[in-house]
Symmetry: C2
Subunit: 482 residues, 2 copies
């Protein structure tokens, strides 16, 4: 396979393998791999999974082979779970068997800072040179496919498949993202964790996700470019964002963090300002921590390309003056606007609400009437129709977490193309509230509603979405709304 001329269809056997081998499989491993093994035993790959380990004849009732060369079938992907010094030998055998995808779990390479690890990385690269074998890792968990349930991550179930494809230099972040995805109904397609990126890298997967019709949103956790060329990545990114958003979490953006990233994936410190400039110039979206990453992916997944706001003008509807001020500050501080409603809307609201302890201009403070569902619903309807408003923001209180309240609010949402944001603050502290919220969450997820557990996250993620839309507009790029 010529590395410069990618055949993207070939990635199919990575994300949809039939024959999988695990080299170094053992029932006695303390961490991780034993869990993977039993997961595969109960999967669709149960009959096409081939453990390799010269120490055993059988593993979990599978026949165990001494070497991949003994497996009497073709192998699509081979996972290597071995100490690093024996990996070169094993990789050579994979090349000999023409295995296209080799995933190296093991750590202990360049990220240790030791000469030995660096040398072995070089050796591995040399082994696959000119061959039909490509390496993912080392120091990674490899591919993930939400549709088939294929994954080498051991904590999370698989959620509903969807349009988000992601790549992560960190296996832990991949696992956490999948876990959060299941809980928040964030819907994935493909994923990959690639660790030290000695061969296949962020550019390869960006290209793949760019051209993959099933991927609508791309998310990446990156500490470095790995074996990719930064300039090539820049160019690919610029083309990709014309069709679909790319959200990049750059790990190690501080100098202490950059040191930590080196110990993690051998990531060589690169100037964060360069990353910032690249991301800005290409219209990609930059995030800087876990919550921001998860919330922003969710926002893009739900809104793109169906709910494109005309502008950055938010209408905030909530009971409580202090809360109104807080929300307005947070939205305005995140480069969104909270403008006055049209005179017409203000008059309509004034007809419904009392004169005292409310605000009909925007933020719409419903005062105590915010707890009267009929009034709340009527007010939302007025704000949705207002020509001065592009985005509807509804901070909810414990009093609103009822099925019949949501049903009415969601009905309004379904009738508009303006983005709707539900905000449910401070739920984590209270078990009683978490219980109540658990029911509400099911309704929200089922109806694919965008909700946040922090007002600040709501404002921030919405602003990042508006930034992307503004970028497209500034380049006269039309969004295909299917």
């Amino acid at each position: 396979m010529d590395k410069s001329q990618y055949n993207f269809e070939e990635f199919n056997t990575l994300f949809y393998p039939k024959h999988i081998s695990m080299i170094g499989a053992s029932e006695n491993s303390k961490f991780g791999s034993m869990l993977y093994l039993s997961a595969f035993k109960n999967s669709k790959w149960a009959d096409t999974f081939y453990p390799v380990n010269p120490k055993y004849d059988k593993i979990l009732d599978w026949k165990c082979y001494d070497s991949v060369l003994d497996i009497p079938y073709p192998v699509d992907t081979a996972y290597i779970s071995l100490k690093i010094d024996v990996i070169p030998k094993v990789l050579k055998e994979c090349v000999q068997k023409d295995i296209p995808w080799v995933i190296i779990f093991a750590s202990g390479f360049s990220e240790t800072g030791d000469e030995e690890g660096k040398q072995i990385e070089k050796e591995l690269k040399k082994i696959i040179e000119g061959s039909n074998t490509r390496v993912i890792g080392p120091n990674c968990l490899g591919p993930y496919n939400a549709e088939t349930g294929m994954k080498f991550s051991f904590t999370s179930p698989i959620g509903t498949p969807g349009p988000v494809s992601f790549m992560s230099q960190s296996g832990g972040h991949l696992t956490q993202l999948v876990d959060i995805g299941v809980k928040r109904d964030l819907r994935f397609r493909y994923g990959v964790s690639f660790g030290n990126q000695i061969d296949l890298n962020c550019l390869d997967f960006l290209k793949h996700f760019h051209h993959d019709p099933g991927t609508k949103v791309i998310a990446a956790y990156l500490e470095s470019f790995g074996s990719a060329d930064g300039h090539d990545f820049f160019n690919e990114l610029k083309e990709t964002t014309k069709k679909k958003p790319v959200i990049i979490w750059k790990g190690g953006y501080t100098s202490d963090g950059s040191r930590a990233a080196f110990s993690h994936t051998g990531a060589i410190a690169s100037d964060f300002k360069l990353w910032e400039a690249m991301i800005k110039q290409t219209g990609a979206t930059l995030v800087k921590d876990n919550e921001e990453f998860w919330n922003t992916i969710k926002t893009f997944e739900i809104l793109f390309p169906k709910y494109i706001p005309k502008g950055r003008r938010a209408g905030i509807i909530t009971p409580g003056g202090g809360n109104s001020v807080n929300m307005t500050d947070l939205f305005a501080d995140n480069n969104l606007e909270v403008p006055h409603l049209s005179k017409e809307s203000q008059e309509k609201l004034a007809e419904i609400l009392p004169k005292e302890n409310v605000n009909v201009k925007n933020p719409i403070d419903l005062g105590a009437y915010g707890f009267v569902v009929d009034v709340f619903i009527k007010c939302i309807k007025i704000v949705v129709k207002d020509p001065n408003i592009d985005i509807i923001v509804i901070p909810l209180w414990p009093h609103h977490l009822f099925n019949y309240v949501f049903k009415r609010m969601i009905k309004i949402q379904k009738g508009t193309s303006k983005p709707f944001l539900f905000c449910l603050p401070s739920i984590a502290d209270s078990f009683e509230l978490a219980k109540k919220f658990n029911l509400a969450r099911k309704i929200l997820n089922k109806n694919r509603q965008l909700y946040f557990l922090s007002l600040r996250d709501a404002a921030n993620s919405m602003a990042l979405f508006c930034d992307y839309i503004d970028y497209l507009k500034s380049r006269n790029i039309q969004i295909q709304t299917d």
Copy 2:
């Protein structure tokens, strides 16, 4: 009472009233006041509570009076819950009866922007001029006392009393703070919501809390100075922070937010840069949203003055490379440091941990061994003793939320004066996790441990605490550690 020469002891009858009157009491009110009434019926004030309303003879079995002047007892505090146009008449009667504290609930004054409301505010000020009566509000909930359980907020129970006194221009924020306080075991002493501050204001309460020996931490939500003089507030703040921290949440810090604040409490727009400068120069702590407010209060409450870090150097101990990088970025981005451990500590850690997939320098990435409790505990002990480390940060995973794990970690915490931060990310999404966390929370609260539900909040609040300590050091101010 001479307003310029405050007798602070007089505030006692505000926070510890015996005789309370409610003017405009009614069993038929739709919102709020009816709930207050029944709460008082079951309180220690049941026999010294006097409803006033000429429409009724009896309310909830209390005798109801036509006017405060008919009450045959002295009255310490009178709450007025009436339409604004009849308030002047009623306030005159309060003055005539020498009632020291009058709390005006009603809204509809200067915050409406209408001339009528402004005029009535002026009239009210005139009525109390030179009298023995002081007004709190209008547009407020008035005083709160965690020790006696006195409050006019209707959602929250009262938690364990403690050292935090707070003032809030918003009644909603007061209620929310008390609610959060109960859930997070944040311990309060006094509180007050004072709305439009036409008479008693933020300066009066700052002075009171400053000189109150039971108050160790002061928190304030402010949209404006109200009737206080900004310069006087500045001077008082500067003196106060020499003895105790003052955390100020300035509502309406954006221009859209400032408009919202006007509609809320009639707060006149003031330049946020001036507030920022004032807060910085006085050593007070500035926060800008609800979560930041709650987390920072909790941090100061738990740490001050017992756990004063020597510097800003954090030791982060966690399983997971990606997570290590994330935490390090967040701490470093918040102006804290994540320095290398001493060579000695690194060697000790290397003896315990494997060579691969870990980091013994700091952040300490335990790899898969982070899930082995004995190893985790040993590593924490080493980091606590390291001379390069001032602050201990422990991001916990669902696997750690067990009684026996906490018990061991808490034991280490009790043996050091270095601040300990437990971080429990992303609990809100999962009901199962919330259930598990509910037990963990009880242990953490009982042991007065500092924990966060967001890594970012942990870093931010800790940095604000270090900022205050640095301010004191830069002024050579000694902290009295009791």
